[in-house]
């Protein structure tokens, strides 16, 4: 008899893709009662009422059809005005701005529109978990560059230069960074820009946390001298405006690149959700005060939480932005996975092991401080107890 093996319908690329390392902890934490979670990568604020109300109004008025592929022109104009006002970068709303389904989709489009098979894309780690898989799915080869915890996870030009080959196409940077909270300052960006120019690289700049910087004004990569022409600026509403569930983001880039992204977008998605687009117009027109309020609140929680971590013996640099603290757990002798699992099982505090975000995140854990002060104080209490017992 002939042996028949069942054929797999899956794409080999997808079959080879590693599942996200967060999954196992998610399942474990979800099965437990009384967990204090510092594992959530999103704001603890509900979207402000004026934004929700604007969405309700748009529904009442019957705005329920498709919009232009690139998004409502009115919204693109608001985005252009916002980028100019806050970050001093100018984009033409007609040809250089695309409204997407979250920053997530914008990253995907940026890669698919620019990567040829076999092109190398430099991914700076520790980083958001989606970059490398999206590079792979776009047919590219992700090349990890680890940053150094002792250097506060700053990206240094030498680190990029070391991995550049003739196949290197693009660099993905993210400041403020998830998971480290590290913000790159003007001189640091300029140093990176020099290498980028020298090797004629494209830069995909994930600026989703731009609104949340605490120690000085934010500098967009596109605002660095000579970078606008080679930068795809990606941002959105999820973090700064507390709109994760609305699934709305945007990309801004020189027309040639942006139109290529739009080409994919019009076939794959048509347009971002209409009601969310109307909400976003309100967010940009009248949301600034709410953003400031939330930012102030994160800022205080950061100060409290990071100082407390250091006091209980987890050494942690002061992150300049986002809402993550990334303390070192190396002194405990455990791996970050062991630490996170033991902490969850023994004290019911959920954190994300740093190794999930790349090899250079090993020895660290990501703690989101986008939780109430009560929860943060409770988490510190439990973590102290845990560490004292070790």
């Amino acid at each position: 008899m002939m042996q028949q093996t069942k054929k797999s319908y899956l794409s080999e690329t997808v079959a080879r893709l590693k599942p996200s390392g967060i999954r196992r902890f998610f399942d474990l934490a979800s099965s437990m009662e009384g967990v204090v979670s510092l594992g959530v990568g999103e704001p603890d604020f509900v979207t402000s009422w004026s934004i929700r109300e604007a969405c309700i109004l748009s529904l009442e008025q019957g705005y329920t059809s498709y919009t232009a592929n690139a998004g409502l022109l009115e919204l693109r104009q608001e985005i252009a005005a916002y980028l100019a006002r806050k970050f001093h970068v100018k984009y033409d709303p007609e040809t250089e701005i695309l409204v997407t389904v979250g920053a997530s989709q914008a990253i995907d489009l940026a890669l698919r529109a620019t990567v040829n098979p076999g092109d190398e894309v430099i991914v700076v780690e520790p980083s958001f978990v989606a970059y490398s898989p999206l590079v792979t799915l776009a047919g590219g080869v992700p090349i990890s560059v680890g940053t150094n915890g002792d250097d506060h996870f700053k990206l240094r030009p030498e680190q990029i230069e070391r991995v550049i080959t003739e196949r290197t196409k693009a660099l993905i940077v993210c400041s403020p960074n998830n998971p480290t909270g590290t913000v790159l300052h003007k001189e640091e960006l300029e140093a990176i820009a020099q290498i980028v120019k020298k090797h004629d690289l494209l830069v995909i700049s994930d600026e989703i946390y731009a609104e949340l910087t605490y120690d000085g004004p934010y500098i967009s990569f596109a605002a660095v001298d000579g970078m606008r022409e080679r930068t795809i600026l990606i941002s959105g509403f999820s973090k700064g405006f507390a709109m994760t569930g609305w699934r709305l983001g945007f990309a801004a880039a020189p027309a040639e690149i942006l139109q290529a992204m739009l080409k994919i977008h019009q076939y794959a998605i048509m347009c971002a959700p209409t009601m969310a687009q109307y909400a976003a117009i309100e967010a940009l027109r009248n949301g600034e005060q709410d953003v400031e309020y939330m930012k102030k609140s994160y800022h205080r929680r950061r100060n409290y939480f990071v100082q407390s971590l250091n006091e209980i013996g987890l050494s942690c640099h002061m992150p300049g932005g986002a809402f993550y603290a990334f303390p070192s757990i190396r002194a405990t002798g455990m791996t970050s996975e062991q630490f996170a699992e033991k902490l969850l099982l023994e004290e019911k505090v959920a954190v994300v092991p740093g190794s999930v975000f790349g090899a250079s995140g090993e020895g660290y854990i990501r703690c989101s401080y986008a939780s109430s002060m009560e929860q943060l104080q409770e988490a510190i209490k439990r973590m102290k107890r845990f560490l004292d017992r070790l």
Partner: protein, 166 residues
């Protein structure tokens, strides 16, 4: 009085939660406990911080439901002292919870708390309307408190987020 940024921040935090431990408060504004204590002392002494109070939902306590009324009061201001003297005569009554001078159709807005409607009615007819300068009063009883001083009653801290996300 001009306050520093840190002092304003301390006030903003206490306005939301006056029982926050001083060690936590100090860390939130990146000051030492001693520095924070000194600021609190100064704010209390200068009466910028007037009092620390508790927001209570009395409806939940049997026998303490009570009634609250907002009374629009029209008055004739007195030469030289304006509205202040009338306001003072009114705010000294312990059942008066707040008194504001208003622009618009009436002059003073007076909030009264009492055990029952008749108690409030009695106060209005016997104490308030009989004051010389009071021309008229309009009493509105509060039927339900949804939100008070920025706090929504009965809004649990519901966190709809999933426990872990990238």
């Amino acid at each position: 009085m001009k306050l520093t940024e840190k002092e304003v921040e301390i006030i903003e935090i206490l306005e939301k939660d006056a029982r926050i431990p001083i060690e936590t408060l100090a860390k939130m504004v990146s000051l030492s406990v001693d520095e924070t204590e000194a600021i609190l002392k100064k704010l209390e002494e200068t009466k910028v911080i007037v009092q620390y109070t508790t927001l209570v939902d009395w409806r939940k306590v049997d026998g303490h439901e009570g009634v609250t009324a907002m009374i629009d009061v029209k008055v004739t201001p007195k030469r030289g002292v304006g509205f202040d003297e009338v306001a003072e005569r009114i705010y000294h009554f312990p059942e008066v919870k707040s008194v504001y001078l208003m622009s618009g159709a009436y002059d003073l807005s007076v909030v009264i708390e009492g055990r029952s409607m008749s108690e409030v009615a009695k106060f209005v007819s016997e104490k308030l309307s009989t004051l010389d300068s009071v021309i008229s009063t309009t009493t509105h009883f509060i039927l339900k408190k949804y939100k008070h001083d920025g706090t929504v009653f009965d809004q649990g801290d519901q966190d709809h987020r999933i426990v872990m996300a990238p």
